[in-house]
């Protein structure tokens, strides 16, 4: 016996085994349809108190059948064959085959049936108890009834066997029951010894116990098992002692847990005759409070006192069940050939412990089961074994252990020794291990917070998923898993691993580009898309506000609009980001994608994403899309930890014209500081002498698509410290306005004259000089002697002129902003306009200083001569003209009177 039945559970001991097999050629789907109908008859009530439970198998090794004496539920007692037979001519051959099949299990068979499909006519008319004829697979209404009758006949045989054995009191004739590997050990043994007889008796008791259990006589079975244990313990017949103990356990489990221990795996059809049983069934996985029926009856709640007495005497308590299982397993462990029995006993005990919610003890049984050596196992058996271990660990709530064994099973599916590795099965099993490693394939779960898990183990699992999916021939899946690995485990990958992962990702994506669609697996599992929000990482930080301009910010339909992001590359090598553009909702938006290449572990790097809104309305910037390593990702702002906002609403207004401005004067980099809110498109600067006038020609070109219909021009002087005489900036707009409306591509020119007239007088030191002379400039008559005082001070004058020069060459600046307001097209209708500002920066140099003022009495007392000392601080020659056409030429830095 080499193949264990991992699905076995304690209550299977009370069932009888019926094998259902096809004979000849039977279509598989048809066979299983009939099989299912047969299997639905799992319980048959006989008389009032007894019932028979049936376990159906469509495959059973005759080798296992040989252990039938050891535990009778392993014995094939019934055979139902299903066959097709088209004509009467084929009938003899079919009947022959049926007999051949019966031969296989002949030693144990109680009864058999043959279901023939397709045969009609004379042969089918003959009434036979063991053969039923049906015209077709569809037309067989009484299959269940037939099976019911068949089970009834099995019961009669069972009952007769039980009575036969039970009443067999004389010890002389008791045959020795034995398991296959024991047979040769007993050759030549003294069959007359007390020891031998006791052994025979013990084994037979145990056998009768089994039969009683199968016949539904629980109390009798318990009594027989107890006696068997006593007998066998006396003769140290350990294997059978183990079996007797296990029988005791099984019977007790059946008593305590009428709902069964198999859990969801076996769906027994609840019989109408015993609805109470079905109701009491425990679900091991559920979180309900377990009410132990044994404990209840012990407290005297049970009404039926007869079973109470029996139970108290013979039935094991829930704790004892486990103790006896342990003992039984330790006895089985003494026999190398009983490995399967031991393993199955472990599994059964685990299921019982799972119901009792004693997970730790269950894990000890499982630990033991892991080490049971069944000799050479086929790969398939190994997979089955690991899978079942995983399932059992899951049953007792050891999810990590379960995941571990499932993963081992998955790896076994593709072991190098297997000629045709089952990558699909491997992949499926690997997916099932995910919860055990607290891994979810939804990147959203990861972005919520910091990583919480076993990175090393999780990474390994992800790598295996990638590999398995690739071998399955599904590169799309590999790309998805690899993307997930890169996105979520980036912080845990070494530089070398990053390189390897990205290289293989690029390999896969060259065949199958990754996208944003949800991948749905055949079993319904959905793999959400994995956007690379970390490649590159977007950090807007304090810039968020400026980038997205939340207040009073509008975009214009048809115009190129920009969003700036600060990104950085966390990878140790250059990162190529292609097709990077904005994701928006609202109005129609044409994104103009950009490609960029970020150097290795770059710092923050500004990226400007542009696009053109095609219609007016509200637009929301939700995020951006990228293509990295051949994977297209849509990254939403709400998923980015560094960005607080979940999107940004911008109003798009109808289209407006656009002007481009150029001037006759050179542009300057100089920007006037107090540029309130409006931004200057450019600034011109010019240097002028005080009083000079300069013409500034401004050319305005319509570079937009709409006509310019209105144009307004205003100016504002920025620096207000200085007193400005006259008009600083003046212009004639009429001429320019006559060109309106200005069509697209056309230009108009406008001349603005810049006139600077500043007051350079009244400077402190100038007045100082005058005061020193004691001269008042208030215009009082000044006597001539005073003039003499002045004369002998030439050195003083030079000093003053030198210091004066430094002082006078002081340049004053004048700044103004020319503001063009224009509008047109659809935007004008809604009252929108555009502004274009030109900064004008003028450095004003003084041209003429009047350094001294003196009066001389003139011929008339009513008049006086006003003497002015004029100083030329410039480097040029200049002419001063007065009213009476007197001209005075002043050379550079010259002072004349």
């Amino acid at each position: 016996m080499s193949v264990p039945d991992y699905m076995q559970c304690a209550e299977d001991h009370q069932t009888v085994l019926v094998v259902v097999q096809p004979v000849g050629i039977v279509p598989e789907d048809q066979f299983f349809r009939i099989y299912k109908r047969i299997a639905s008859v799992s319980q048959v009530s006989i008389r009032d108190s007894q019932r028979l439970l049936i376990r159906y198998r469509h495959h059973y090794l005759p080798e296992n059948n040989e252990w039938g004496d050891f535990q009778t539920h392993r014995k094939v007692v019934g055979l139902i064959s299903i066959t097709t037979c088209a004509s009467a001519k084929e009938w003899p051959q079919t009947a022959e085959r049926f007999h051949g099949q019966k031969e296989v299990y002949s030693s144990t068979l109680y009864d058999s049936r043959l279901l023939v499909f397709g045969l009609q006519g004379d042969v089918a008319e003959q009434p036979r108890t063991d053969v039923a004829f049906y015209p077709s697979f569809e037309d067989c209404p009484d299959v269940e009834k037939r099976v019911d009758d068949f089970v009834g006949s099995i019961f009669i045989v069972l009952e007769s066997k039980r009575l036969d054995r039970a009443t067999d009191k004389s010890g002389d004739k008791i045959p020795l029951l034995c398991v296959p590997f024991e047979k040769k050990d007993f050759v030549g043994l003294d069959t007359d010894s007390r020891h031998y007889k006791k052994r025979c008796q013990g084994r037979m008791r145990k056998h009768v116990g089994d039969l009683c259990l199968q016949a539904g006589m629980l109390q009798d079975a318990l009594v027989h098992y107890h006696m068997a244990v006593e007998l066998l313990r006396g003769v140290n017949d350990f294997l059978w002692l183990g079996a007797a103990l296990e029988g005791l356990c099984s019977a007790s489990v059946i008593f305590h847990y009428p709902g069964g221990t198999a859990g969801k795996t076996v769906a027994r059809k609840p019989s109408i005759s015993q609805p109470a049983d079905a109701g009491k069934r425990h679900r091991p996985g559920a979180q309900e409070v377990l009410i132990d029926p044994g404990a209840l009856t012990a407290n005297g709640i049970s009404a039926d006192t007869s079973t109470e007495i029996g139970r108290a005497k013979n039935c094991l308590s829930p704790e004892d069940i486990i103790e006896k299982y342990k003992e039984a397993i330790s006895y089985y462990g003494k026999y190398k050939n009983a490995g399967v029995i031991e393993l199955e006993a472990c599994v059964k005990a685990v299921r019982v412990l799972a119901i009792q919610k004693r997970a730790r003890e269950a894990s000890e049984f499982l630990q033991n089961a892991v080490y049971i050596n069944l000799g050479q196992l086929s790969e398939e058996e190994k997979i089955q074994r690991y899978s079942i271990l995983s399932e059992l660990y899951e049953l007792i709530g050891f999810h990590r252990k379960s995941a571990f064994f499932k993963r081992v099973a998955a790896m076994q599916c593709v072991a190098p020794t297997i000629p045709e590795p089952g990558w699909r099965a491997c992949y499926k099993l690997l997916l099932e291990t995910l919860p055990g490693y607290s891994l979810s394939l939804d990147p959203k779960d990861f972005s919520k917070g910091t990583h919480r898990g076993w990175a090393a183990v999780q990474m390994r699992l992800l790598h295996e998923l990638v590999y398995a999916s690739r071998r399955m021939g599904n590169p799309g899946l590999s790309v998805r898993h690899l993307s997930f690995l890169l996105q979520t485990m980036l912080d845990f990958l070494s530089d070398q691993e990053k390189k390897e992962v990205t290289q293989s990702l690029e390999n896969y994506t060259s065949k199958c580009p990754g996208g944003m669609e949800v991948i749905t697996l055949p079993d319904g599992l959905k793999l959400p898309p994995v956007p690379f929000t970390k490649l590159p990482i977007v950090r807007t930080g304090s810039l968020t506000c400026r980038i997205f301009k939340p207040e009073n910010f509008q975009w214009v339909q048809g115009d190129v609009c920009e969003v700036q992001l600060m990104v950085y590359n966390p990878m140790p090598y250059e990162l190529r980001v292609e097709n990077m553009g904005l994701l928006t909702s609202g109005v129609e938006f044409e994104s103009l994608p950009a490609a960029l290449s970020l150097p290795a572990e770059s710092g923050l790097y500004p990226v400007t994403l542009v696009g053109v809104p095609r219609t007016a309305g509200n637009i929301t910037v939700n995020g951006y899309h990228t293509s990295v390593f051949g994977v297209n990702s849509d990254c939403l702002l709400e998923g980015l930890p560094a960005v607080k906002t979940s999107g940004c609403l911008v109003e798009v207004i109808p289209s407006l014209p656009r002007l481009q401005l150029s001037t006759s004067l050179p542009r300057s980099a100089y920007t006037p500081q107090p540029t309130s809110k409006e931004e200057l498109s450019s600034t011109v600067s010019v240097q002028l002498f005080n009083g000079e006038t300069q013409q500034l020609t401004i050319t305005l070109e319509n570079i937009g698509s709409e006509d310019i219909e209105t144009l307004e021009l205003t100016s504002k002087i920025v620096s207000t410290k200085e007193k400005v005489f006259g008009e600083f900036l003046s212009w004639e707009l009429e001429e320019a306005l006559s060109h309106l409306p200005l069509k697209s591509g056309q230009a108009l020119t406008l001349t603005v004259s810049i006139k600077v007239k500043l007051d350079f007088s009244g400077q402190e030191n100038l007045l100082q000089d005058l005061n020193d002379d004691g001269i008042s400039v208030t215009g009082l008559p000044i006597s001539s002697p005073l003039r003499q005082v002045l004369k002998p001070r030439p050195e003083n004058k030079t000093v003053s002129s030198e210091s004066g020069k430094a002082e006078y060459s002081h340049i004053k600046t004048l700044e103004a902003v020319l503001n063009f307001k224009y509008s047109g097209g659809a935007g004008k209708v809604e009252g929108y306009y555009r502004e274009l500002s030109l900064g004008v920066h003028v450095d004003v140099e003084p041209s003429v200083f009047f350094t001294r003022v003196n009066t001389l009495p003139a011929t008339s007392t009513r008049q006086c001569h006003l003497l002015l000392d004029i100083f030329n601080p410039t480097e040029h020659e200049l002419t001063v003209s007065a009213k009476n056409n007197q001209e005075l030429v002043l050379h550079a830095s010259e002072c004349q009177r």
Binding site: R360, S363, Y371, F404, Y437, G453, A456, V457
Partner: protein, 142 residues
């Protein structure tokens, strides 16, 4: 002496894990990870019966073919796991206990560091030193 020492946070993610020889690290990750099943089971079992009075030392979690895995849980549900070689029979329960106590003391020191953010992985050199003292010296292995 230990071949692997791990500190696991309340939420069951590793705060610290070190093993010798280092080339087989992943295997120990698996061992420690699966041992958490037993730890959880033990904690929940104790919680039911004894209330808050609880022995921190959990004893042998499970033996594998090559290793023995011991567990220890602080009152704040931080778990310590020590893996020792099965062949090392001289090691007694008391010694394992004292190792855990030393580990716990050092861990408390780490937590007292005002610059340490509870929940972050442990990077303390002092803690590392204590762990190194308890580990098998790699030299004796070669």
């Amino acid at each position: 002496m230990a071949v692997c020492i791990a500190v696991i946070a309340k939420e069951n993610y590793p705060l610290y894990i070190r093993s010798v020889p280092t080339q087989n690290e992943l295997k120990f990750h698996y061992t420690v990870h699966t041992s958490l099943d037993v730890v959880e089971e033990k904690i929940s079992a104790v919680g039911k019966s004894l209330g808050d009075q609880r022995e921190l030392y959990l004893g042998l979690l499970y033996p594998t073919e090559d290793y023995k895995v011991y567990g220890y849980v602080t009152n704040s549900k931080v778990k310590f796991v020590i893996v020792v070689d099965s062949s090392n029979t001289s090691l007694r329960d008391n010694e394992i206990r004292s190792m855990f106590r030393k580990l716990h003391n050092s861990f408390t020191d780490v937590m007292c560091n005002p610059f340490h953010n509870p929940g972050d992985t442990i990077q303390s050199k002092a803690f590392d030193g204590i762990v190194s003292g308890m580990m098998v010296q790699t030299a004796s292995y070669t």
